[in-house]
């Protein structure tokens, strides 16, 4: 990491400087709320992702930061300045568009130089900076080509260079890798990460691919239908989801709906709608789970599976094997319990010996792996 | 090309296949003609065609053998001033022949139409006097058989000795007139007397006057105003006229033969140079508008009926000529349509107001100074043409 990057990245919790802040920002289209009063802060030097399914409002949020949309209510701040009334060409942000939006009538060189030439810098300056930028994204041999002569991956790199050359405070990326094939996408993810570390800029990325978000980001905001469900680091989002939506959207999980029966030290007892009795650990979502309905999430890889019964007081169940999905590195088992619930269990594939259908199997999971979440209106 | 390694066998075969396909394309190309070849051949062919002296005759009017057309139909090609429904109806009542009339408003257009192929469509055509000469040159006319015509003796003597058609062998005069100034008497007071009025009042009239779109008429009038002959062949005189016209040019709204009518009536123009036949008609429609023949003299024109060489219905054509020569018919049509008749018998039958209309029938004092526009030797005509082109193109 470069010295500048380290400096950029240092922050203390006390005087953290936020590069981007959204305060109670809403956006309404044709009487339809697309973004509902969200609060968001992005720290300097972070790689921040906004993750969610199609139509959740993540792209709109990004466009609000870029300046292509004006909030219906609330405030957008960049580096502490309110930018509600500031048009995009005056904001210190640059965007890499999902479709790259390269100027087809200009060469690669001219595309990258576009922002600099608007500021009327002298020719030698521009030349050296463009060469640098192209080298940074490994497109230095392509200066004279036209965008239509480039592949998707190459276009994306040019779009990156074009944005980065202006040294923005924040770089916005709108589903940048969506149009690439899997292998290319993985390569580009590595490159993005490297770039971020080298330059120390604040990156804000919008994506629907949770793997991408998880692997690249310092923090993720999970959005659903215009609301932010949780903002956390990838580990905490995965291990400690605060809402059933987050638990379900990130990774796989088994969800049970039920009613709270009672409490004990650091845990609660519940009865699922299908009559299973479980012991779960309340997630620290801040909502107090005192009584009433609850949703429980158990990750498939956290379930132990055996042909012989377990000795345990809680969360031990018996069922029959219904489906087996062999994926090379691990196996997904579909197990049906007596209650009628279907569970997915994931195990690393260690041997060739897979149980056949209808084999009786025994499942067990730890209390700490059984998260109790409040029932949010989904 | 082809790899020999065993595990490369697939690639080996693949490259062989592509080789063969490549040669297949060379032997059996789906596009045997390249664009360049096509263009080169086409251009070479067309140029050859164009440059070969095929020696065809331009716009030749070919004789159509034995085409007579319907016996009771007569097609005539005339000026709109010369016919109306009553006239045609009378003729049909008298002879049983149906008349279909097409109109034109410029001699050149009439000539071009006839040459472009319609020479065999009409049995009667109404050219102006100098056009008769042109049509003779182009061998478009049939010599008239005087035995078939009745009433020629009524034609005034001066119209029977035409310069354009010696002996009047090919035409029968139907009307005559003058060229003069038509003006709005509300705006112009006292009335203009001569051509010079235009030059003397150029400032006041700027943009509100028009001249005829006719080389010889315009130059003739200007020559007249300088005291020269309408038909001058003297290069100095013609040049003087040209310089004088150049002076007037900025004040002229446009050169037009009849578009001035609406504009004069609307008030956009205050004076126009025009033919008596148009001028008198407009004056009848609107008492404010008056037609005056310039004192120093003007051009005399006459229109005539001719029978084209390839007329489909010659008998009907003669019937028409005889009809138009009838004094009663000629005088009535003069009364209705306001064109001067060269037919003495008809003239005598006219009511007094018409006979005394000086616009229609100018007094002899003016007629003495007036001349018909005659065809001139090639060199002089070319000179007029050149000056006219320079005048109208700048």
């Amino acid at each position: 990491m470069s010295q500048a990057a380290i400096e950029n990245r240092t922050f203390t919790t006390a005087d953290t400087e936020f590069d981007v802040e959204l305060r109670k920002v809403s956006k309404i289209y044709n009487h339809e709320p697309v973004v509902r009063g969200i609060d968001l802060t992005i720290r300097r030097g972070e790689f921040f992702s906004i993750l969610g399914p199609s139509g959740c409002g993540k792209t709109t949020t990004l466009r609000l930061v870029a300046g292509f949309e004006t909030p219906s209510s609330g405030e957008v701040l960049i580096r502490g300045q309110s930018v509600n009334r500031v048009p995009p060409y005056r904001r210190p942000v640059n965007t890499v568009f999902q479709s790259y939006a390269l100027f087809s009538h200009l060469t690669v060189w001219e595309n990258v130089a576009f922002g600099l030439r608007l500021k009327k810098q002298n020719k030698a300056e521009v030349q050296s900076q463009v060469d640098q930028a192209l080298k940074l994204v490994k497109m230095d041999g392509f200066a004279k080509r036209f965008p239509t002569q480039l592949s998707g991956g190459q276009q994306q790199r040019v779009a990156l260079a074009r944005a980065l050359i202006n040294r923005p405070a924040v770089l916005l990326l709108d589903e940048p890798l969506g149009a690439l094939d899997l292998k290319l996408r993985k390569e580009m993810q590595v490159e993005l990460s490297t770039l971020h570390q080298e330059l120390g800029l604040t990156f804000v990325m919008v994506t629907h691919d949770q793997e991408e978000a998880m692997s690249l980001s310092d923090r993720i905001a999970v959005m659903n239908q215009g609301n932010i469900e949780q903002i956390d680091s990838p580990e905490r989002i995965y291990e400690h989801p605060k809402t059933p939506f987050v638990a379900d959207f990130i990774g796989d999980t088994n969800l049970f709906y039920g009613k709270i029966e009672g409490f004990s030290a650091n845990a609660l007892w519940l009865i699922t709608d299908n009559g299973l009795k479980m012991k779960a650990k309340p997630s620290n979502s801040g909502d107090s789970l005192t009584s009433g309905s609850v949703v429980v999430s158990v990750r498939p890889e956290k379930i132990r599976i055996s042909r012989s019964p377990f000795e345990h007081e809680a969360n031990a169940f018996e069922g029959r094997l219904r489906t087996v999905m062999y994926l090379g590195t691990h196996v997904h088992y579909g197990v049906e319990l007596a209650s009628g619930d279907r569970l997915t269990v994931m195990q690393p594939c260690l041997s060739d010996d897979l149980p056949g259908e209808d084999t009786p199997l025994y499942l067990l999971w730890d209390v700490n792996d059984c998260l109790a979440l409040p029932m949010t209106g989904q | 090309m082809s790899s020999t390694a065993n595990d490369g066998s697939i690639t080996g075969i693949r490259s062989q296949v592509s080789d063969r396909r490549h040669t297949a394309i060379l032997h059996h190309s789906p596009n045997p003609l390249s664009r360049r070849q096509f263009l080169q051949t086409a251009i070479a062919g067309s140029s050859g065609l164009a440059l070969s002296g095929c020696g065809w005759t331009l716009a030749e009017v070919r004789p159509v053998q034995g085409k007579t057309g319907a016996a009771n139909e007569l097609y005539i090609y005339t000026w709109s001033n010369y016919i109306d429904a009553d006239l045609l109806r009378e003729f049909t009542a008298q002879t049983g022949i149906r008349v279909i009339a097409d109109t034109f408003d410029a001699n050149e257009m009439m000539l071009a139409t006839l040459q472009a192929g319609k020479g065999a469509a009409y049995s009667i055509v109404y050219p102006s006097d100098y056009s008769v000469a042109k049509m003779l040159e182009l061998k478009l006319l049939k010599e008239l058989e005087e035995s078939k015509i009745a009433g020629l003796e009524n034609i005034l003597p001066k119209f029977r000795a035409s310069v354009h058609d010696p002996g009047n062998r090919h035409h029968v005069p139907i009307s005559w007139g003058t060229t003069g100034l038509i003006y709005n008497s509300d705006k112009i007071n006292p009335p203009p007397e001569d051509w010079d009025y235009l030059w003397k009042n150029q400032e006041k009239l700027s943009g509100r006057i028009t001249l005829l779109n006719d080389t010889r008429e315009v130059f003739g009038a200007t020559l007249r105003s300088l005291g020269y002959s309408y038909n001058s062949t003297n290069p100095n005189e013609i040049r003087e006229a040209f310089e004088k016209l150049k002076v007037l040019k900025p004040a002229i709204a446009s050169f037009t033969t009849d578009a001035w009518r609406d504009q004069l009536l609307a008030g956009d123009l205050v004076m126009a140079m025009g033919f008596s036949i148009d001028g008198v008609l407009v004056a009848q429609q609107n008492p404010k508008i008056k037609y005056v023949v310039p004192k120093s003299g003007t051009s005399l024109w006459s229109d005539a009926m001719v029978i084209p060489k390839n007329a489909p219905n010659q008998d009907a054509a003669y019937a028409w000529i005889n009809y138009m020569l009838q004094p009663a018919v000629a005088s009535q049509v003069t009364e209705r349509l306001f064109f001067a008749t060269p037919n003495k018998a008809a003239f005598d039958q006219l009511p007094a107001p018409v006979r005394n209309n000086e616009a229609l029938f100018p007094p002899d004092s003016i007629l003495q100074n007036s001349q018909g526009i005659v065809p001139l030797p090639r060199a002089a005509e070319a000179l007029y043409e050149k000056y006219w082109t320079i005048l109208t193109s700048s």
């Binding site: 300046g67 060409y89 942000v93 200009l106 | 164009a50 065809w56 040209f242 000179l383 193109s393 700048s394």
Partner: protein, 311 residues
């Protein structure tokens, strides 16, 4: 792995492959050949006969007709003291036609671009067709009627001056002068320009404008650096169409232009239907027009459709 059939086998089984394009092109090709190519060749042939008149035999002999265009009409004086009258008449007329055409093209661009921009980009989607139809409606009337309408408006006592004098402004003397020609021609050709520009602007990718703004371009900068270059094929096509049409416009200069508006079209008319009857010279002038139009079309083909060239 079977090998593809050898060439000789294929050709004997089916009809020769060039038959299909010929069959498809034949109807239009024959039509164009008879009614466009052959008449143009005839005109070209005529233009090579100096001073030919109807009734004479056609024998191509030289380029005098063309040379005449570039020479001045010269009238030598009878006396030595007077200067000769020289005038490069034909070049003047060609220049005038070019000015009318270029001026009209420019005016159509100036007036048509904002309209097309408004309809394509600013107006709400469901209004677009209505606005387009409304703007193109004048095309449904005869062009001659439109010219006469302008005469009515621009006359010294016409509608325009009535309004101006009623408001207290001085009356304008527009009719029978070049401004009236520009007005008439621009009015007639504006709908074509708007339609062509609209087609191009509609395809404009708005995200490019967002990208430009994102990179720091103000709306005006984005317009000149992104919109105009992207729409350039449409601008080229529209301009060339207007130019080609106005070079040959006969009616408007005739009716609206007055005494000093002789154009190439009218000059050609005079050669054929006027008093000079010099069909050879008229043909040469016509070939000049054909040349001008051909150059324009060649330019159009080269620059007009860059988008497909780049793809």
């Amino acid at each position: 792995m079977t090998s593809p059939p050898a060439p000789s086998e294929t050709s004997s089984k089916s009809l020769p492959q060039w038959l299909e394009p010929i069959a498809l092109l034949a109807p239009a090709g024959i039509w164009l050949g008879l009614l466009l190519v052959i008449p143009t060749l005839l005109i070209f042939q005529l233009s090579l006969v100096p001073g030919i008149r109807p009734g004479q035999v056609v024998n191509p002999s030289g380029l005098e007709n063309y040379l005449q265009i570039f020479q001045a009409i010269e009238i030598k004086p009878a006396t030595a003291t007077e200067p000769a009258v020289t005038s490069f008449v034909y070049l003047k007329v060609i220049w005038r036609s070019l000015s009318f055409a270029i001026g009209t093209t420019f005016m159509c661009l100036l007036l048509g671009f904002p309209v097309a921009y408004f309809i394509a980009i600013t107006a709400p989607k469901n209004w677009r067709n209505l606005l387009l139809v409304g703007f193109v409606l004048p095309l449904w009337t005869s062009s001659l009627l439109r010219s006469y309408a302008w005469i009515t408006i621009l006359r010294p006592t016409g509608v325009l001056n009535s309004i101006l004098t009623a408001v207290g402004l001085p009356a304008l003397n527009l009719l029978n002068r070049p401004p009236a020609v520009y007005i008439g021609m621009t009015y007639s050709l504006l709908p074509y320009m708007v339609l062509i520009l609209y087609a191009s602007l509609e395809k404009l990718d708005r995200r490019l404008l967002e990208a430009a703004a994102d990179l720091g371009a103000t709306p005006i900068q984005a317009f000149w650096k992104v919109t105009v270059p992207q729409v350039l094929p449409g601008i080229a096509a529209g301009s060339l169409l207007v130019f080609i049409t106005s070079i040959g416009d006969f009616v408007d200069p005739e009716l609206l232009g007055g005494a000093s508006s002789m154009t190439l079209a009218r000059l050609i008319y005079n050669q054929f239907l006027g008093a000079s009857q010099n069909w050879g010279f008229g043909s040469a002038l016509s070939m000049i027009v054909v040349l001008a139009v051909s150059i324009s079309i060649a330019l159009l083909l080269k620059y007009g459709d860059r988008s497909s060239a780049n793809l």
